[in-house]
């Protein structure tokens, strides 16, 4: 087992924190929010978490293949299938889910066929399928609701998701199917990684890329169908994409990204479901997505290296370090001009040359013992400072500041 790099250690810490938050959320919500964990709520929480876990993992591949919008088109395309299945089989959940799956799958085939044979671009076709099939689904649902069948009210839940509708059997279904999906991913890990990264290379090397592509797409469809009842057609794509996008901010390794995405998804799914059940009448889908979006926002802001906050801090550190180096140069040049390397230069002059950043630079130099100040607002180089200022730029960079040089802007 190779030793862990600092990045690896950081990622494992994030994983540990996520698991901890997951574990703590239940007692937290029970005590602070006054949520009562009766049987229904436990089921709901488990269902949400299981769904989030599965979507998070599979969503990684959707995001990396740049097919996030495909997930959206597919989930919207599932709606007519639900309505038609109801017309045929009544309110039978497995039938409804199969209907959703068939409808989604037909959606993919349609998108692929139209993209292949016409000059329309893929995102255009996805938009068309999304809008038109969803509209067809809504029309069918309205028709279904026009009939006197009392149980069709439940069909609305497929649009926005309703956690309260979940029973233990559903959770079991998600868990079992989810395990099946994970098994497929584990077995075909390197193949999926390869076709996601370089499809052409995989093809040139004899991989059955069309088949692998179809398998991955099927996994996405299954994940979407599993989540329709809980998160709803409109927002399911969020649960697919958000955890993966958040996870990408924290790591450079696909393996870690998948684990993190699963955890983030589980957290979003579980907490969203719990929060929606805590208050009467709150729809689940939106709350899950709100939680997921929070995770994405935190990741984008605070992730090391890629995060915005991190980059700001880094930039400020760099500016200060470069200011110090520049002032060091100025001091040496000015002192040389006066023929005495220990010459004390007026601070005002240095600020005039460099701007106000010179002051911060001078203070940094003083801290490092490279320059010293005098009561009359003048500054002179110390022997060490003279030594350093004479050497090449790359050596100077190593000496003035302990912080590691960033290797990339990402």
């Amino acid at each position: 087992m190779p030793t862990l790099s600092p990045q690896d250690r950081r990622v494992w810490m994030v994983i540990a924190v996520s698991v901890g938050l997951l574990a703590l959320f239940v007692p937290f919500s029970a005590l602070i929010l006054g949520v009562r964990y009766d049987y229904t709520l436990q089921t709901v929480a488990l269902g949400g978490a299981a769904l989030g876990l599965v979507s998070g993992v599979i969503g990684c591949f959707a995001v990396l293949r740049q097919q996030s919008l495909m997930g959206d088109a597919l989930s919207h395309a599932a709606l007519p299938g639900v309505a038609i299945a109801f017309l045929i089989a009544g309110r039978d959940l497995p039938a409804l889910l199969i209907g959703a799956g068939v409808s989604s799958w037909l959606g993919i085939q349609f998108i692929a066929a139209v993209t292949r044979t016409t000059r329309l671009k893929q995102d255009t076709v996805m938009g068309i399928v999304l809008a038109s099939w969803f509209a067809f689904g809504i029309a069918l649902l309205s028709y279904v609701q026009g009939r006197q069948d009392a149980s069709q009210a439940g069909l609305d839940t497929f649009i926005f998701g309703q956690a309260a509708a979940i029973v233990a059997g559903d959770v079991l279904l998600i868990a079992v199917v989810g395990l099946g999906l994970f098994a497929v991913i584990a077995l075909m890990w390197k193949e999926f990684k390869l076709i996601t990264f370089d499809y052409e290379f995989a093809r040139a090397n004899g991989y059955p890329v069309r088949m692998l592509d179809a398998i991955l797409s099927t996994l996405v469809v299954v994940a979407i169908v599993l989540g329709l009842q809980l998160a709803g057609v409109i927002l399911m794509v969020g649960l697919l994409i958000a955890p993966a996008s958040a996870a990408r901010q924290w790591t450079h390794k696909l393996e870690q990204m998948v684990i993190l995405a699963g955890l983030f998804g589980a957290f979003a799914g579980g907490s969203g479901a719990i929060l929606s059940a805590a208050e009467e009448g709150l729809p689940t889908g939106p709350l899950i997505i709100v939680m997921a979006s929070l995770i994405v926002a935190v990741s984008i802001a605070f992730a090391p290296e890629r995060g915005l906050v991190w980059r700001q801090i880094r930039q400020r550190q760099d500016r200060r370090r470069f200011a110090a180096l520049n002032v060091l140069d100025d001091l040496l040049r000015h002192a040389s001009g006066h023929g005495d390397l220990h010459y004390a230069t007026d601070e005002g002059l240095l600020v005039g040359l460099r701007g106000s950043e010179a002051r911060a630079g001078l203070r940094a130099l003083e801290r490092e013992g490279l320059a010293r100040s005098y009561p009359d607002q003048t500054w002179a180089l110390t022997d060490e400072g003279i030594d350093l200022a004479r050497r090449s730029p790359s050596l100077r960079a190593d000496n003035v500041d302990d912080a590691a040089t960033p290797t990339s802007a990402f």
């Binding site: 390197k190 390869l194 990264f197 093809r203 004899g206 450079h252 290797t407």
Partner: protein
Amino acid sequence: MKSPDNRQRAALRIEDLTVAYNSKPALWDIDLTVPEGVLMAIVGPNGAGKSTLIKAALNLIPRAAGEARFFGQSYEKARHRVGYVPQRGSVDWDFPTSVLDVVTMGLYGGLGWIRRPRRAERERALHALEQVGLVDFAARQISQLSGGQQQRTFLARALVQEADLYFMDEPFAAVDAVTERAIVELLRQLRGEGKTVVVVHHDLQTVPEYFDSVTLLNVEVIASGPVDTTFTEENLARTYGGRIAYLRGGSGAAQSLDGKEDHADLIAAG
């Protein structure tokens, strides 16, 4: 060098290859033989079909007619003897993976379905990275690489497959002078080991210096053979169909070649 009474088994033999996009021929009736052990450049103007030629030969794009044989066999049978280095732009360089990982992907094909790459595969990948001078970058994330380093990573991925025939699509594009020298050295080494290398090349200036064979392509094959006899002003004029400025080695004087004013040679529209 090769005697005229040949090897029956050329590294690559293409016959009657035609590729069309929207009913316009991108490649027309290509006949090309690449003998074993040469370092060949494929040159031609934009739109000449250079990349298309390689992709069609490797069955990456459909063809309207013709066939390609590799060491006397079809591509499916000879696949393990052929390595391909595509253009850099074909990949998402923000993908979460390391340089070593990318090179190891070159070995996936030999592993079969369920097996994971292990130590043996990593050793081979590291060796390939050594050959291209990137062994210190093995753990680096690929988004942190410069253009030249990305190119060399792709090169290592092809080298690790230990093929006998390599295709490279513009390996010198947007690469600095140091990297360019390093790649040329590597190509010469491969030729020294008896391998065959076919390179789509954009810089006429360096053809005589880097390569021993050349194919001049403009939808059709204008000429193909050893650089000395094939890379002539007349052939270049026929390929490029107009004025091109070409510096003849050593003299330092730019020579302008006047070709025909009518562009009847150019079948492919721009």
